[in-house]
């Protein structure tokens, strides 16, 4: 492929940066969290849960920070003039940028997952291979979605500070996503949302899992077989335990039967793929139209 030298260059940039390895370290340090709740929920598969905990918090911000400068950085330094002079279409430049950054972030995050797996193996013994491999794939899917968002931010903006503001705004929105969704739901329906006794509303639950990290949690909770929710696995298990009340949105706790079809956890793969495809399509549309400088 024409763009593979660019992709190799981009992945080398990520892998030789401190950022990628700080991200990997934070995922391991934050993720390794042995708790009774976690152990009670999934037993030895708590090792897989460690990956979910670390990735859920740090992968989105880490992948965004690693990728949001991919184009804007070249614009501000002027190296984009060499990049644009290569025998590549602008679409190929975007593909090279995104795939290279993804490989870099992906390699760092796989290293973190393997480190957690090693620690878990020593601490708790063997865990399920299928949930582990499935979680690894889901993690890479989340990484590719976040890199796509980062590349989009980098394409849309003309100044680094604007791009950084865009990243911050995205993180803020996803951080408060539950509050935003429940407030909007209440404003539209007039029904107050009590997270301890959440209303059995399909659209409400669907909205809660539309962020990349929400979809990731739904998917990995499904792989861990703890319940259908965008919360972390041990919170979902606690919510579904008899006689316990926590403020979490879990499908099985709100609906009789499994809820509407569109809340099936497997559809979170579609949500993540949309988060890969739509930002890349938008970035392509913007980058291929008009001036590139």
């Amino acid at each position: 492929m024409r763009w593979s030298p660019l992709a190799r260059s981009e992945s080398r940039t990520v892998l030789t940066s401190k950022g990628a390895w700080i991200l990997a370290s934070l995922v391991v340090l934050w993720g390794f969290r042995p708790t009774y709740a976690g152990w009670d929920a999934v037993g030895r598969n708590i090792t897989v849960g460690y990956i979910q905990i670390g990735v859920d918090l740090f992968l989105p911000i880490g992948a965004l920070l690693v990728s949001y400068q991919s184009l804007i950085g070249e614009r501000t330094t002027g190296s984009i003039k060499f990049l644009l002079g290569l025998p590549l279409t602008r679409t190929q430049i975007l593909l090279g940028k995104a795939s290279g950054r993804f490989v870099g972030v992906g390699a760092a995050i796989v290293a973190a997952a393997l480190a957690l797996a090693g620690i878990g193996l020593v601490e708790h013994g063997p865990f399920g291979l299928l949930p582990f491999l499935g979680t690894l794939v889901a993690t890479l899917l989340l990484a590719s979605a976040m890199v796509a968002v980062g590349v989009l931010v980098s394409t849309v903006t003309r100044r680094t500070v604007t791009a950084a503001t865009g990243v911050f705004a995205y993180l803020l929105v996803t951080l408060f996503w539950t509050q935003i969704v429940t407030s909007v739901y209440t404003a539209i329906t007039g029904v107050p949302v009590d997270p301890y006794e959440a209303p059995a509303s399909g659209p409400l639950f669907l909205a809660l899992r539309l962020t990349p990290d929400g979809a990731y949690n739904v998917l990995t909770n499904w792989l861990l077989d703890v319940g259908n929710s965008a919360e972390l696995f041990h919170i979902v298990a606690t919510k579904l335990a008899p006689g316990v009340s926590v403020n979490a949105f879990v499908v099985e706790a709100a609906f009789d039967g499994g809820g509407p079809w569109y809340l099936h956890p497997a559809l979170s793969v579609v949500v993540l793929l949309v988060w890969v495809g739509v930002p890349m399509a938008l970035a392509r549309r913007i980058f291929t139209e008009g001036d590139a400088l």
């Binding site: 024409r2 030298p5 660019l6 260059s9 030789t16 070249e74 330094t77 002027g78 190296s79 003039k81 060499f82 644009l84 002079g85 290569l86 025998p87 590549l88 279409t89 602008r90 190929q92 008009g290 001036d291 590139a292 400088l293």
Partner: protein, 251 residues
């Protein structure tokens, strides 16, 4: 068809940024094998024109062809056959000179040895040094080495003498001669007018986005009624001091 087409053709090319017209109805033809000097004061539109030739920028109106191809539609083929030394560029600070040249060679799918290209531009003893430690002259030499990758049919050099010491200037001049001997076309913009005189077959003078004069130095001297021993600088000042009316003729 494209093999005999001019190296560069611009037909009524205009580039506007809002109310500002950076390039105004530019008609330009650079034949194969020529060394063409593209001169103009700061802000005349030289770099914008080069951006349009390379599809960095898109014209508001008019058409551009490079080596007989549309630089937008045929960007891969055009960039494969063109070497570019841009103006006001930045390098990848944490990468060596060798890595910079290798990167372009890989993208162009050629097996040029980075060492020999870097030797040619005078960076033979800095092959594995990081570009972040380079002086502006060394950066310029490295960018020239990158432009030379793959023996391009057309070299587009935007201010190639910028930041160079006299040795560097002479080396660039020698390389331009070597490249034209090889059969390449060289199109460059420059403020270093004395060098233009030594290197170029033809000169085009851009002023306020319009090509106000074009020809050999002798032709430009005749046109400006300059004395026979007038330098490029004398002719340039004469041409760009004058106002330009709507028809593009000097008053």
């Amino acid at each position: 068809m494209s093999s005999s087409a001019p190296a560069i053709e611009a037909d009524a090319v205009t580039k506007e940024y809002g109310d500002v017209r950076a390039v105004d109805s530019l008609d330009l033809v650079v034949e194969r094998g020529e060394t063409y000097g593209f001169l103009g004061p700061n802000g005349a539109g030289k770099s914008t024109t080069i951006g349009l030739l390379l599809d960095y920028l898109r014209p508001t109106s008019g058409t551009v062809r490079v080596l007989g191809k549309d630089p937008r539609r045929d960007v891969v083929e055009v960039h494969d056959r063109v070497g570019v030394l841009p103006d006001r560029f930045g390098l990848y600070e944490d990468r060596s000179a060798r890595q910079h040249v290798s990167f372009v060679a890989e993208a162009k799918r050629v097996d040029d040895a980075p060492e020999s290209l870097l030797e040619r531009v005078g960076l033979g003893d800095a092959v594995d040094d990081d570009a972040g430690d380079f002086s502006s002259g060394m950066e310029q030499r490295l960018a020239l080495a990158m432009a030379l990758v793959g023996d391009p049919e057309l070299l587009i050099l935007d201010e190639p003498f910028s930041g160079l010491d006299p040795h560097g200037v002479r080396r660039v001049r020698d390389i331009v001669h070597e490249e034209t001997q090889r059969g390449a076309t060289v199109f460059f913009s420059s403020h270093v007018l004395g060098q233009v005189e030594l290197v170029c077959d033809r000169i085009g003078v851009l002023h306020e986005g319009r090509l106000v004069a074009e020809g050999t130095l002798d032709e430009l001297r005749d046109r400006t009624a300059s004395p026979d021993d007038a330098t490029v600088e004398d002719v340039f000042v004469e041409l760009t001091d004058a106002r330009v009316d709507d028809g593009g003729e000097r008053r």
